[in-house]
Symmetry: C2
Subunit: 227 residues, 2 copies
Amino acid sequence: MNQAFDTDEAPIRVTETKDRILDSAEKLFSEHGFAATSLRQITTEAAVNLAAVNYHFQSKESLILAVLLRKLEPINQRRLELLDEVEAEAGSDPLSLEAVLSAFLLPVLEAKASRVQLCNFPRLMGRMYTEPGDWMLRIFPQAFAPVLARFQPAFLRAMPGAEIEEIGWGMHFSIGAMAHYLAGGALLKTVTLGLADPSDTAAALPRLVAYMAGGLRAMTGQKEVSQ
Amino acid sequence: MNQAFDTDEAPIRVTETKDRILDSAEKLFSEHGFAATSLRQITTEAAVNLAAVNYHFQSKESLILAVLLRKLEPINQRRLELLDEVEAEAGSDPLSLEAVLSAFLLPVLEAKASRVQLCNFPRLMGRMYTEPGDWMLRIFPQAFAPVLARFQPAFLRAMPGAEIEEIGWGMHFSIGAMAHYLAGGALLKTVTLGLADPSDTAAALPRLVAYMAGGLRAMTGQKEVSQ
DNA sequence: ACTGAATTCAAACGGCTGTATGATTCATAC
DNA sequence: GTATGAATCATACAGCCGTTTGAATTCAGT
């Protein structure tokens, strides 16, 4: 064994290499983007052999797909669980728009706030929405479509009478607002003159919820808005 | 001369090469992103020599800076002109929030709608908000800061009593909503179940204005104001 | 027509990219 | 203990990257 000194701990092994690669890839992709991150950077940071990437994952593109789905899957599952609770509490009444929005936002903001090295994912996710390439469309059916299929009717129940197209526009804008916050450049601090802390997700959640709810209601309340 | 056949037209010259490079760079950067676009792709598309990029611009990074500033400068100038008009019409009354938002959005949506090969810029701009690298911070003082300096007080005038930090959060979310629409993946069509046309900026403007106004008012605790 | 500066050109530079190969080491079951 | 399949390793492969060079060309001023 030529890489000694790693057996003084527990005999951790098995898929440890895969996870190390995924962690490093998540971090570096979120910091520098997909195209600007090389496999050598990733394997160096992960302290694994270069060929391990193409062995465990087949290609660089498959790697980022794995990176995204690893974290997105549980987040989306939690979103659906929270939506279940909201719908259960509401009974047959209209849903609370704020509650639906919170169910959508909370899981990803929780991930952002968590310390355990998964806090890179939301930033990556925020960036991915605008990244080029068709692999966004490739992970959509697997990860996004089920969430969309549940939340679309939920928004409709929360805003009775609103048209589907208007709700769609509103969801689109809301995803943009969320993604931009998650990608979180220094812009928030600039735009608030230093008053806001981008990492304070506890401060961001109620503001995002209030903003989205107000925007959705205003847009769906009156069909045509003359400015 | 080994690339003949280009003198049968008018003797257009001078900075023609620079513009051709800028046009192709804008198009390709907006389609594939910064890191994923090579100078060879750009010079091939522009039908100019590879070395022309490093001759007219010093580096790839300087090139995208030039690409951005070329279009952003007039757009931001138009934003300020429109804001001038809004403020002139308002006199000493509070500003119309919708009017301020329109002054911010109209110039860039006009650019998106225009046919003349500048319609790539908004998509690029939308992408740039989330791109990595510090050059975002480098063009900020030159291009964004003056706009921010004028619009921040305008928003304050449009929402009397609101706190600066809340307005900042709202502007941040609004920029995200706008950028996500501009970057315009196929998501809008998916999320509206095919009912919305992403290229229809005339449909987008009133919706964006209504959404942002509603969001800003809801977050800053403003009452619904009839315009 | 000639000069000197501005521009364009083909070619090359070192370096980094994603991926593939085949030998080697490992964990495990007989 | 040894056979077996999985995992790791060093190394190499083309090929593309941004940038540079110096000669060839074009342009403007006289």
